[in-house]
């Protein structure tokens, strides 16, 4: 798999994207509100549920972009 002349690496600029789902869910001021509600859910709850999708989206993107076969 690894070519002897070119050492393999797990470094990639795409990895920086992973900081987004690590940092955003920690910013309480973003979501610590009641309004607007969606389907009865206060912002505090629906927005944090939405962060799960943010996490899934980012890890999937980074995974696809850093697969070894792509290089």
């Amino acid at each position: 798999m690894a070519e002897p002349d070119r050492p393999r690496t797990d470094k990639s600029p795409w990895n920086w994207l992973l900081l987004i789902p690590i940092v955003v869910p920690l910013l309480t001021f973003l979501y610590n509100h009641d309004e607007p509600r969606i389907a009865g859910f206060p912002t505090f709850y629906w927005l944090q549920f939405a962060f799960i999708l943010l996490g899934v989206g980012t890890t999937t993107l980074v995974y696809q972009m850093t697969r070894r076969s792509r290089r």
Partner: protein, 549 residues
């Protein structure tokens, strides 16, 4: 007891079904030679995407989580919802960091994080410290799984006059669990996790669709919770955070995420997967469980809207909030469905309890038995010692619940989260750099542990009237800040740990203290399935470097 007879029958039936599966699991994906720790303790390092998803999901989201998180929401509101951001940020962290641990462990045959630390820093002593920290942090976590089962049994009315009669069902359940874990190793929880998680997904999806319909919609549920918290005298509850607990909220989420991936049982689940791709793909798929956990958390509000009154606790006058979710099901659903839900919680306790006891057994075997008691142990002897240790660990967990106040286990688990974080500098930073000195890592660990105990000791709990170990939210005013804000103990201690480790490193460098030899190479951290593995690594290094710190 008679009103719950349908629930008890369904619970017992499903429990016995998965116990049967636990024993059969030893023949599932049967290896040529089971007498090897890689087979018993890591399922042959061969699990693919689906098995890993169920195994790690069943491992991280424990029965206690499913009972305690809604209990927290029921009692305190928004502050209990930290479980959602916590399980969002953990996966990118796994994706970046734990993948390197998988690779280096694959290359070198490491079974535990302490194995890695030993090779990386050339220090069996540091490895011993990491191993003992892991075992001590894991033990109360296993005991807590029993509290999950107990909440269910209590709701079904399975209680007795004497302490022994009351605990008999749990003792039997754990004896069965111990027997099939002994026999099948990590294959048992991997197979049972399929049943457990399928049951939990069905139960929760039905509950979150049906209950809001019955209780007047989500808006009404949140409004009922809001009304309850407005009426309560406590300043720190509510369906939103207040000015004082926001720092606690995000530091707890971050600290818990770091702690979770340092816990030996999460690492065991990850090391059992067969290649890097399996882990990376799972980091996109595992958040499905976070979604489920968020919905489960909201069961706490549904219990408020449904007017659930928790059962009395162990001490007179107290209430056991852990019973609110079982009671909610008992009140709102037909008996057969409640039986399925209770079985899901009960079986849900078995999967993580099995993995935790295996992880603790692996640590003891590799980093205490093989290191200090019997250096020339064969693979078969290692596997055997681990099997026996897993039995001892479970007996210890049951004893904790039977002989001690359950509150003691909850306190210990609180401490456990803080102490496991103290292994972060050695394990996490060690995966990237060897700059920190092995002696400094020990100093940092000691500083973090000492500070952690002091801080936890200082925290009172007004609700239960206890003076010490009342929670993990440390008032910043204790440090002399003029504020009402609180912060998560683990977060502060790990920062102090790092600071001490960095300073002592500079001192030890200046004093030219020997640093030992790194037995790993940079490329090891990128190794994948199919790359050559370094066999019998232990025996070689033992000859090369008899020294230690």
């Amino acid at each position: 007891m008679s009103d719950h007879i349908t629930e008890i029958i369904i619970f017992t039936f499903l429990f016995l079904l998965v116990s049967g599966m636990g024993f059969v699991a030893s023949r599932w994906r049967r290896p040529k030679d089971m007498a090897h720790l890689d087979e018993w303790g890591l399922g042959g390092r061969s699990f693919g995407g689906w098995i890993t998803w169920f195994l790690v999901g069943g491992d991280l989201y424990t029965a206690y989580t499913f009972v305690a998180v809604p209990a927290l929401i029921f009692g305190a509101g928004a502050a209990g919802f930290f479980a959602v951001p916590y399980t969002v940020i953990i996966y990118p962290l796994f994706f970046l960091i734990l993948i390197r641990l998988w690779s280096v462990s694959h290359r070198h045959g490491f079974v535990t994080p302490a194995d890695f630390v030993r090779s990386r820093f050339d220090s069996p002593t540091l490895a011993l410290v990491i191993a003992i920290t892991g075992i001590v942090a894991t033990m109360p976590y296993i005991a807590l799984q029993l509290i999950g089962i107990e909440a269910v049994l209590k709701t079904m009315g399975v209680t007795g006059e004497s302490a022994f009669a009351r605990h008999l069902p749990i003792i039997i359940a754990f004896a069965i669990l111990a027997a099939y874990t002994y026999q099948s190793g990590l294959r048992a929880p991997a197979l049972i996790a399929f049943v457990k998680d399928t049951l939990i997904y069905i139960v929760i999806l039905v509950a979150v669709l049906w209950l809001p319909y019955k209780l007047g919609g989500w808006g009404a549920i949140f409004d009922a919770a809001d009304a309850k918290f407005q009426a309560s005298p406590s300043p720190n509850d509510g369906i939103l955070l207040n000015a004082n607990n926001q720092v606690q909220y995000f530091t707890l989420a971050l600290g818990s995420a770091l702690a979770l991936f340092l816990y030996p049982h999460s690492i065991t689940g990850v090391l059992a997967s067969k290649n890097r791709d399996v882990i990376k793909r799972n980091m996109s798929a595992l958040p499905a469980y976070s979604f489920l956990l968020g919905l489960i958390a909201l069961l706490g509000y549904m219990a408020i809207a449904a007017g659930v009154k928790p059962l009395p606790g162990a001490s007179p006058g107290s209430v056991d909030n852990n019973t609110v979710v079982p009671l909610l099901f008992d009140q709102q659903f037909p008996a057969w469905f409640t039986g399925v839900a209770f079985a899901a919680i009960g079986i849900g306790a078995l999967v993580p309890a099995a993995i935790m006891s295996i992880a603790a057994a692996n640590l003891f075997t590799r980093n205490i038995y093989k290191e200090y008691l019997r250096k020339d142990a064969t693979h078969a002897q290692e596997a055997n010692v681990a099997k026996i240790t897993s039995l001892v660990v479970k007996v210890g967990a049951v004893a904790c619940i039977v002989f001690l106040d359950p509150q003691f286990s909850i306190d210990l688990q609180l401490i456990g989260g803080v102490i496991i974080l103290q292994t972060a500098p050695a394990v996490v930073i060690g995966l990237y750099t060897r700059w920190l000195h092995r002696g400094a890592l020990m100093a940092g660990w000691a500083a973090g542990m000492g500070l952690g105990f002091w801080m936890l000791w200082q925290i009172p709990n007004a609700a239960t009237g206890r003076k010490h170990f009342g929670g993990s939210a440390f008032p910043l005013s204790e440090f002399g800040f003029d504020t009402q804000k609180t912060i998560y103990v683990g977060f502060v201690t790990v920062l102090v740990n790092l600071l001490v480790a960095a300073l002592v490193t500079l001192v030890l460098r200046a004093a030219k203290t020997p640093e030992g030899t790194d037995h790993t190479a940079p490329d090891d951290y990128l190794a994948d399935e199919g790359d050559p593995r370094i066999e019998r690594h232990r025996d070689e290094t033992a000859v090369e470097t008899p020294s230690s710190t």
